[in-house]
Every structure is written in structure tokens, then in C-alpha cells.
Symmetry: C2
Subunit: 219 residues, 2 copies
DNA sequence: CTAACCATTAATGTATACAAAGAACCGTGA
DNA sequence: TCACGGTTCTTTGTATACATTAATGGTTAG
């Protein structure tokens, strides 16, 4: 593995999982020493993170980890909505129905997973990741896939901020199942509409959860 | 201006305008010497171009300028459609109607521009760029704007491949006017639909133009 | 006491030297 | 003549030294 890749992956993981919270100053020499690479590959990593929108230059202070406000969540969904609707639409047109039928089958049993504690919930998340992968594999457009990948970076960060409760997960599983079944039945319009509905609910939940947390903080 | 920015801008321009055609090998030392910077900032520039999707690694041969096939054009539009529909929708919701009314006014006179030769056509293109800018300014979502910017990089490249004739430009102006008027009237759905129509026509024209050229080549 | 300017310093930005990995080419053998 | 192996050379990847810029703190003048 190249040193620049190592630096990028390390910083990316730490930003996404919150180890490096928003506002953290990333000084080159400091981070290079910490990660164990020289400044050259570290700079390359920082450049990529800047393109990803995960760090930004702060006048004279170097680079800092970007903030994620409530407005950012809304704005992110204004990109997520059209991208994932299109992705679902194309998957319904081109995807292998058998692949999605299998995922649908597993989704129908996801309630049991969700109710079976931490391990089950993790398995449920992995099922969702498999669905995302299957959709991306069905899309031939490299451009759309790239845009989706960039999007998911930011989504992963937000997911940490607004942790979903079990009720929301169960509801989300039902919504997702509608999408997957539409893909199996090669119904692009339904797949897109179901995605629209799912994301609207998902956004609403995110905002409500954040809201609650903010209130908790104030109290 | 930083040396890395200079290198990035230079290479970007040359790739977009065709000076560096697809398949061109970009060796670091060679390009660094040509542009007049050292390898370090040049590598930074190449890294960004790679993230943009304008260059790609070729096993052992370093980086080459990516190809643009007919399939790529179709795939690019599969990203463009949802992004620009969403952009038009948001602009219709949030844009300043006066700004777009002014653009609409100028669009109504664009036939005269298009018929007045090279200079007029250039002015027409600039009008379109102003429209794009106005739409981006109306969108609050930084994520969507970033995705649009990345998209427009590739579109600029394709525009060179399929040069539009005067008839197409006139038709495009009419289609664009429908979009802009929908924005002025704060009609998001119409703005999105009109964008859908416009891009569909635009794609069709691109493919036909490419097709013709290919036939010419064979003949 | 405050404000402005200079010096110091710590950071980024750049250049270059070095290392490592891979490809091409030449030579030798069958 | 072809195949295989080794060597050389070109390339990318990394480290480090140097340049430059901007911020900070102290000192001095008003």
C-alpha cells in the first residue's frame, strides 16, 4: 500500500467516524509524524480530502475538518434525492432481478435481525451496504457511480450524528423493500418514487434526531 | 498563483480544449518541465485531474488522458439529467425572478445573435454560461453545486466533439427559454420537465453529430 | 496606555535528491 | 527462430531540504 493511500484512508476513516471532529486543525508535519509518513504523501492525502469536501482551508491556519450543520444535512439530501432516484431507476432497468430478489428475501427477514441486538443491527447495515453495491454494479454509468461514492462519504458522517432507533430501522426496512421489489419487477418509475419516499422519511428522521440531541445539549 | 494551481489549470484547459487528446501519456518530468514547475506541484495537479476523471492510471505507463466514447456521452447524461433537473427545480424555488427575467429577455433575442456569425455565437454561449452561473447561485446546496461543477468539466470536453449547427442552437435557445420562464414563474415542476426535454434533445443531437462524424471518417 | 511596526517563528509551498518498482531490451541458450 | 532470464533504464513514489508567506508577540513611539 502506498504511503499516500495509507494517509488518505487513515484520515478519511477518522473524519467519518468522528475521531477527528469538525474544526480539527490538520497540520502537515504533525499528522505526517502521527501517521508515520512524510509530508509529501500526506499532502497528497489532504488534497484529496479537500476535493472530497471533508477538509477546507482556513485562512492562514492550514486545513480544518469541515463542519456538518443541520443545513448541510438538508443540502446533502438535495443532492442525494436526485442521485439515488436515478440510481434506483437505472437499477430497475438494468439490474439482475435474481440478485435483487435475494436481497428482497433477506430484507423480509430483517425485523428479526433488528430486534436481535447489536450484532443483528450490524448485519442489517451490511445488508443495506450490499444493496448499495448491487445498485452501483447495475448502473453502467461510471459518472453516476462516482457521484454516488462521493455522496456516501458525507452520508456516513451524518449517520453518526443522528443515530437511528429500532423503530426507524424497521420502517426503513419496509421502505427499502418496496424499492428492491420495484427493481426486481423492472419498474423504474416505482423504484424512483419509492426512493423518493424513503429518502424523505430518512431526512425527516435525521432532522428530528439531531433536533432532539440539540435540545438535550441545551437542557 | 501557486505552481500547483498553474499546473492544474494548464493541464485542465489543454485536456478540455483537445490540445491533449485522449490517450496522451502524461509523464511527470516531461510535463513539469514543459509547464515550468517542479514535479511536486505537478503531481498534485495530476492527482486532482485523476479525481476529476480526466486522467487515469495505465498500468506501468503512468497517467493518460481518459477517452470519451459514445457510451461515455450517454453515461454522462445519465448523471446530467437528474442533476440539472434538480438544479432547475431548486432555482425555480429560490432564484431571484428578476435575474432570470433578464436572461429570458436576452434569450428571446438570441436568434439574431446566432445568425450573426462567430462573434454572435460566442455571445450566445456566454449567455448560456451566465444562466448556468445564475442557477448555481440560486442553489444553496454546496454539494449539488460541486457535483454540477464536476459534471460541466466533462460536458465542456464533449461539446468540442459534437459541434452544434445553427439550427440546433436556435432550437436549444427555445428549449432553454422554457426553462428560464418556468424559473421566473416559480414553477419547479415545469422547470424540471423542460430541463428533461432540453437535455434529451441535446443528447440526441450530440449522438447524431458524433455519428455523422464517424461516418465521415469511415468514408 | 494604545497602536503600529518590526522581528521572530511556525506553517505551507516548492524543489530536488533518493529509493523502489516496473518495463523494455539485449543476450544467451535451446 | 523463439523463449527465457537478467540487466539496464525509465518511471513513479517518498523523503528531506529550502523558500516563502503569514501570524504572533514584543517593543517602541505617539
Amino acid at each position: 500500500m502506498r504511503a499516500s493511500d495509507k494517509a488518505y484512508q487513515t484520515l478519511l476513516d477518522e473524519i467519518v467516524d468522528g475521531t477527528l471532529p469538525p474544526g480539527t486543525v490538520l497540520a502537515e508535519v504533525e499528522q505526517a509524524a502521527r501517521i508515520g509518513v512524510s509530508r509529501t504523501p500526506l499532502r497528497e492525502a489532504l488534497g484529496h480530502l479537500r476535493k472530497d469536501g471533508l477538509v477546507e482551508p482556513l485562512a492562514g491556519r492550514g486545513l480544518i475538518v469541515t463542519a456538518v450543520s443541520i443545513d448541510d444535512i438538508v443540502e446533502l439530501y438535495e443532492l442525494r434525492q436526485p442521485l439515488e432516484q436515478q440510481a434506483a431507476r437505472l437499477a430497475a432497468q438494468r439490474g439482475n432481478p435474481q440478485v435483487f430478489a435475494q436481497i428482497a428475501k433477506e430484507l423480509r427477514g430483517s425485523d428479526a435481525l433488528i430486534d436481535s441486538g447489536e450484532v443483528g443491527i450490524k448485519a442489517y447495515y451490511q445488508l443495506n451496504e450490499r444493496l448499495d453495491r448491487a445498485i452501483e454494479d447495475s448502473i453502467s454509468s461510471a459518472y453516476l457511480v462516482a457521484a454516488l461514492k462521493a455522496l456516501h462519504l458525507h452520508l456516513a458522517r451524518i449517520r453518526r450524528l443522528s443515530r437511528q432507533n429500532v423503530n426507524r430501522l424497521r420502517a426503513a426496512a419496509v421502505e427499502t423493500l418496496v424499492i428492491v421489489e420495484a427493481i426486481v419487477n423492472r419498474d423504474p418509475d416505482l423504484a424512483a418514487s419509492a426512493t423518493h419516499v424513503h429518502l424523505q422519511q430518512s431526512l425527516r428522521n435525521s432532522l428530528e434526531t439531531i433536533q432532539t440531541r440539540t435540545i438535550d445539549k441545551v437542557a
